[in-house]
Amino acid sequence: MKPPSISTLLAASGAAAALFAAAQVHPQSAVDEIAKYRQQLQDGNPAELWEARGEGLWKQKRGPKNASLEQCNLGKGPGVVKGAYAELPRHFADADRVMDLETRLVHCMVTIQGMKPEDATKRTFGSGSNRSDIEALTAWITSESKGVVMNVALRHAKEKEAYKLGEKIFYFRGGPHDFACATCHGESGKRIRLQDLPNLTEKAGAQLGYTTWPAYRVSQGELRTFQWRLYDCFRQQRFPELIFGSEASIALTAFLARNANGAAFNAPAIKR
């Protein structure tokens, strides 16, 4: 049987393997080729599967109060999702604290849907068929800020404080390896192995680093959020486990999101 003309783009991981076989390949050209490969993966980003599920979860009546999240206030008014992520983290008067998206979602799941906090945070990071609702909701809500210019305000005293504390934490050296966030993300033009590292202390680096999370992580086959990114950085820094939605995570997010101001938000993205 003659096959129809097919141009099939499969997200198979074998493509880059051939690059490392040739000992004469220059490291920078390998980095560039990997970047090209990643560009090709943008179309058909599996993150869209999480976005579709998240949109459903936002509108679905759930929890003991059998209510949907459609009245949840993400900072721009009840139910306003478009552009909300580009302004987070921010201070919320009803809780009188600075919250990032994920802590705000848990807040709404508890107050509007009547869930217990332990149920709302039962699975923060998914794995295969063990799915995380927070990841799906985050995927959809952030997709509604795609293209919106980052605009984190530092108006409220607590927002200013969160930024300052986030900066202090960014430079906190600890653990058996003496690592701080700054160890890897405090200088421009550096990389770990062949992974370029954004300098998060400067505008261009912070913009690139922050606006591409959440992302579908191909190596894990999962959509990962910014809370996950911080948790996994600390794991690799040899720190103990970062508590989901903790003050340190919110302060760091405030510091990094604010540093990214002025750039168009560009997630959910796709990464290695």
């Binding site: 490392f20 000992a23 390949v25 220059h26 490291p27 390998a30 009188d96 604290r97 848990v106 906090p117 332990e118 945070t121 039962k122 923060t124 005293a157 607590k158 200013k160 404080e161 300052k164 504390l165 900066e167 202090k168 934490i169 430079y171 906190f172 050296r173 600890g174 653990g175 058996p176 390896h177 003496d178 700054a182 160890t183 890897c184 405090g186 200088e187 033009g189 550096k190 990389r191 770990i192 192995r193 062949l194 590292l197 202390t201 600390f234 794991r235 690799q236 040899r238 720190f239 103990p240 486990e241 970062l242 508590i243 989901f244 939605g245 903790s246 003050e247 340190a248 995570s249 302060a251």
Partner: protein
């Protein structure tokens, strides 16, 4: 994820942030950041909360680059870390470079996801170019290609190299490089093997 942990972290934060005023001094911010750090982590696997206790060097080195460490403070850090270096009792500082290459390629060790019974790697290639053949290397640290060829493997060079691996801050206060011996990441034999990787004339680093 325990609800009590989440709530306690939240309540403690409410209490402490409510007490804060409009603008904190740098010192206050540092103290508050430490408080928040301790309340924001939980132990897991081999990673206990004492990992958040900073030693002298870590405390002094937790500054943005805009803050330059006074010369006497830098010297104090280097002196204290130099004193911590324990050289092998048998006086032999070079081991097997082939094992050194494996240690340089391995990134596991000390993470809460790692098995504490397994040996750690040094993950040298994460930050350094080392042999010519390995193109997957990082640039956080300087290239170490031809390290031994350029310096020779005299006794003082061996001592310096072993010492650098043992405790980089003995020579450079606030160095980004982990203190592999001082913080118990690598064993004595492993450090000898990495020293050999850098200095042995037969090592691919020097060919």
């Amino acid at each position: 994820m325990k609800s009590e942990t989440y709530f306690i972290a939240g309540l403690a934060a409410l209490a402490s942030i409510a007490a804060g005023c409009a603008s904190m001094s740098d010192q206050e911010a540092a103290e508050k950041a430490l408080q928040i750090m301790k309340a924001s982590f939980k132990e897991r696997g081999q990673a206990k909360l004492d990992r958040l206790d900073q030693d002298e060097a870590q405390k002094l080195c937790s500054n943005p680059p805009s803050v330059t460490l006074p010369k006497d403070v830098a010297e104090r850090i280097e002196k204290a870390n130099l004193a911590s270096i324990k050289y092998p009792a048998d006086g032999k500082l070079m081991g097997d470079w082939k094992l050194g290459e494996r240690i340089a390629q391995t990134g596991v060790g000390k993470q809460f996801s790692d098995d504490p019974k397994q040996p750690s790697g040094a993950n040298c290639y994460a930050c350094h170019q080392i042999s010519k053949a390995e193109i997957s290397f990082g640039t956080i640290g300087p290239s170490l290609y031809n390290y031994g060829k350029l310096r020779g493997a005299s006794e003082p060079i061996q001592r310096y190299t072993y010492g650098r691996i043992y405790n980089s801050q003995a020579f450079t206060a606030c160095s980004n490089m982990p203190r592999f011996g001082h913080n118990g990441i690598l064993t004595e034999q492993q450090m000898k093997d990495v020293t050999a990787l850098l200095l042995d004339p037969a090592s691919p680093v020097n060919r």
